[in-house]
C-alpha cells in the first residue's frame, strides 16, 4: 500500500487561467460588488452627461443618500450577524421605534441625551437577549418568537406613549455628534462606516465571528467541537437588538422627533439588504461588506428611481425584484459552491 500523495506539483491550469472577473465573482460579496459598481458607473456617467435632468451627483442628493443609509445600515448589520448565526429577528423595526421613543421621552423629561441614548441601547440589547432566550429555551423558530416581538413592542410604543409624535431636543453637541457634518460628510454616515469596519473585524477577523459562522453553518459540528452555540446565538440576538436601538438614535437625531409608526417594515428591508448582500437564509454564509453593499444598493436604486421621477409606489416593486433576483443568484452560487 503506497500512500496517495497530494499532487502538489503541476498546479491546475483551470485555476490559473481564471480571469479577474471570475476572481471577483469568487470573493465573498464579489458579485454584489460588481452590480453595485456597474450601477455607480452608469449613474455617474448619466449624471455627468445630463447634469440638469439627472442630479445624482448634486450635493443635495449625495447628502440625502448619506443621511438615509445609516439607519437601514445599522439595522441590517445587526440582523445580518444574527442571520449568519442562523436565526432571524423580525422585531428590530419595532425595537428601533420603541427605544427611540423611550430615549426621546426621557430627554423630554429632562434626562441628558448622553444618558438616555446608552440606556436605549441597553434596552435594545435586553430585548434581543429576551428574544434569544425564549427562542433557545423552548427550541422555537426565532421567526415566530420575533414575530411576537414585532407586535408586542409595536403595541408597547402605543401603550407607553400613545399615537403621538415625540419631540427630541437633546443638547446641541449630541445632535452635531450624530447628525452634524465633518469635512462635508454626514456624521451618521461616518458612524455607519465605523460600524461596518468594526463589524467586519468582529465577524471576519475575530474568534467570535468564526464561532458565529460555525454556529450558523453547522450547529451540530460547532457544538461537537466545543463551541457554546447557545451563547453565540444569544450574543447575536443581543447585537441585533442593540443595533436596532443605535439605528433609532441616528434616525431620531437626524429628524428631531419620533413617529410611533416609523419602524414598520424596516425589519424586512434590513433582511432584504442582507439577502441582496449574499447572506444565506439558512445561516453560515455572508459577509459584512455584502450587507453594507446590499443597503447601499437598496438606497441607490430607490434614489435613482426618485430622481427619474418614478412614482413612489413603484419603488417597492423594483426592490422586490432585486431581492428575488439576488436570492436566485445566491442560491445558484451556493449550489455551485463558489461563494
Amino acid at each position: 500500500m503506497t500512500p496517495i500523495l497530494a499532487d502538489s506539483a503541476g498546479p491546475r491550469s483551470r485555476t490559473q487561467r481564471q480571469s479577474l472577473l471570475k476572481q471577483i465573482m469568487g470573493m465573498p460579496a464579489g458579485a454584489i460588488f460588481l452590480v453595485f459598481m456597474t450601477l455607480q458607473v452608469v449613474c455617474i456617467a448619466g449624471a455627468l452627461l445630463y447634469p440638469n435632468e439627472f442630479r445624482y451627483l448634486s450635493p443635495q442628493n449625495l447628502t440625502i443618500l448619506m443621511k438615509a443609509i445609516p439607519v437601514l445600515g445599522c439595522l441590517a448589520l445587526g440582523a445580518g450577524v444574527l442571520m449568519i448565526a442562523g436565526e432571524f429577528d423580525l422585531s428590530i423595526g419595532s425595537v428601533y421605534t420603541f427605544t427611540a421613543v423611550l430615549m426621546a421621552s426621557l430627554v423630554g423629561a429632562g434626562v441628558s441625551a448622553f444618558l438616555a441614548a446608552p440606556l436605549g441601547i441597553v434596552v435594545g440589547l435586553l430585548i434581543g437577549l429576551l428574544n434569544g432566550h425564549i427562542t433557545l429555551r423552548f427550541g422555537l423558530p426565532s421567526f415566530i418568537v420575533t414575530l411576537g416581538g414585532l407586535l408586542f413592542w409595536r403595541g408597547a410604543v402605543l401603550l407607553y406613549n400613545g399615537a403621538v409624535q415625540v419631540r427630541f431636543d437633546p443638547e446641541p453637541i449630541f445632535t452635531s455628534l450624530f447628525s452634524g457634518t465633518l469635512l462635508g460628510i454626514n456624521a451618521a454616515f461616518i458612524w455607519i462606516v465605523l460600524f461596518v469596519v468594526g463589524f467586519h473585524f468582529l465577524l471576519h477577523r475575530h474568534r467570535f465571528g468564526n464561532h458565529v459562522f460555525a454556529t450558523g453553518g453547522n450547529r451540530g459540528a460547532a457544538e461537537a467541537i466545543g463551541i457554546n452555540t447557545a451563547r453565540v446565538k444569544l450574543i447575536a440576538f443581543a447585537i441585533a437588538g442593540g443595533m436596532a436601538a443605535v439605528a433609532g438614535i441616528l434616525a431620531t437625531a437626524r429628524v428631531g422627533s419620533v413617529q410611533p409608526g416609523q419602524g414598520a417594515g424596516l425589519e424586512l428591508q434590513a433582511i432584504a439588504a442582507c439577502v441582496i448582500g449574499g447572506l444565506s437564509l439558512r445561516g453560515g454564509r455572508g459577509s459584512i461588506i455584502g450587507i453594507f453593499l446590499g443597503v447601499l444598493l437598496i438606497h441607490t436604486i430607490t434614489d435613482v428611481l426618485l430622481l427619474l421621477r418614478a412614482p413612489g409606489f413603484y419603488l417597492d416593486m423594483f426592490i422586490a425584484t432585486l431581492i428575488v433576483l439576488a436570492a436566485i443568484f445566491n442560491h445558484l452560487i451556493e449550489r455551485r459552491g463558489i461563494a
Binding site: 500512500p3 461537537a224 467541537i225
Partner: protein, 243 residues
C-alpha cells in the same frame, strides 16, 4: 504496550432499553482496534460514551489507568480523544483552515485571529501529515470537498492537535475505493506516530486491512476480542453474523 483507554463493565440504559451490558475492552497505545458488529449491536452508543456524549449508567472509563468520567465532548477532547463522524464534524461554509482551528483558534490577546499563522499551519498539515489528493489550498471551502477529503480535514485537525486516539465512526461508508484506501493508509501512518485508532465499521474487510485487534459486539456487549494474528476474516464474519 500500556493501555491508553479502558472500559470497565460499562452498562448504558435508555429508560427501559439496555443499549450496553457489562462492556469491557481496552485500547492500547499505538494500537488500531476494529469495533465490529451488526446494526443495533451498540457500536454507536459505545462511540458516544467514549467521546463523552453519553454517560455510563454503570461502570467506568479509565485513561492511562486513571478512572475518569467524561461529562461532555470537551472532556474527551482534553483527554486526547477525537471522534470523527461522517457528517457532523465540519462546517461546509467555512474554509479548511477555519475548520481545522474551529473552536481552538489561534488569536492575539484581544481574540483577533492570527490568520496567516493558521493558514501556514493548515497548509503544512495538509501537505505533510495528511496525504490526500486534490486539495490545493487551505482556503478551499469544506463544502467543495469530497467525502474522503472532508475526513482528511477532520483527521488533519486531530493530528495537529496531537490527539492520542481517533474514533472513526463508519469512516468508509460513503467513500470511493480510492478514498478508502487513502483513509486506511492514514490510520496506519498515524499508528506509526503512536496514535491509536478505533475503527467502528460494518466492513470487516476494511477493518481487517489495518486493525491489530478486533472487538466484536452483539446485543450491547462484547462477544469476541481477538488479535489479528489469531483470527481470520471468516472467523470474524461468523462472529458478527451468528452472535
Amino acid at each position: 504496550m500500556s493501555n491508553l483507554l479502558e472500559l470497565h463493565n460499562i452498562s448504558k440504559n435508555f429508560g427501559a432499553l439496555t443499549a450496553l451490558r457489562n462492556l469491557s475492552f481496552h485500547i492500547g497505545e499505538g494500537e488500531v482496534v476494529g469495533l465490529l458488529g451488526d446494526n443495533g449491536a451498540g457500536k454507536s452508543t459505545t462511540v458516544n460514551l467514549i467521546s463523552g456524549i453519553h454517560k455510563p449508567t454503570d461502570g467506568y472509563l479509565s485513561v492511562d489507568g486513571k478512572k475518569t468520567l467524561f461529562t461532555c465532548r470537551s472532556d474527551s477532547a482534553d483527554a486526547g480523544i477525537e471522534t470523527i463522524y461522517q457528517h457532523t464534524a465540519l462546517v461546509d461554509s467555512l474554509s479548511i483552515t477555519r475548520n481545522i482551528f474551529m473552536g481552538r483558534e489561534l488569536t492575539d490577546r484581544f481574540g483577533f485571529l492570527r490568520q496567516a499563522e493558521m493558514r501556514d499551519i493548515a497548509m503544512e498539515v495538509l501537505q505533510n501529515a495528511v496525504h490526500i489528493s486534490g486539495i490545493d489550498s487551505p482556503d478551499t471551502l469544506v463544502g467543495n470537498l469530497s467525502g474522503g477529503q472532508k475526513q482528511a480535514v477532520a483527521i488533519a485537525r486531530a493530528v495537529y492537535f496531537k490527539k492520542r486516539v481517533l474514533l472513526l465512526d463508519e469512516p468508509t461508508s460513503a467513500l470511493s475505493v480510492r478514498e478508502t484506501e487513502a483513509l486506511l493508509n492514514q490510520v496506519l501512518k498515524l499508528k506509526a506516530e503512536n496514535v491509536s485508532s478505533v475503527l467502528v465499521t460494518h466492513n470487516i474487510y476494511h477493518a481487517y486491512q489495518v486493525c491489530d485487534r478486533f472487538v466484536i459486539m452483539s446485543h450491547g456487549t462484547k462477544v469476541f476480542d481477538v488479535a489479528k494474528a489469531d483470527t481470520t476474516i471468516n472467523q470474524l464474519t461468523e462472529y458478527v453474523v451468528l452472535t
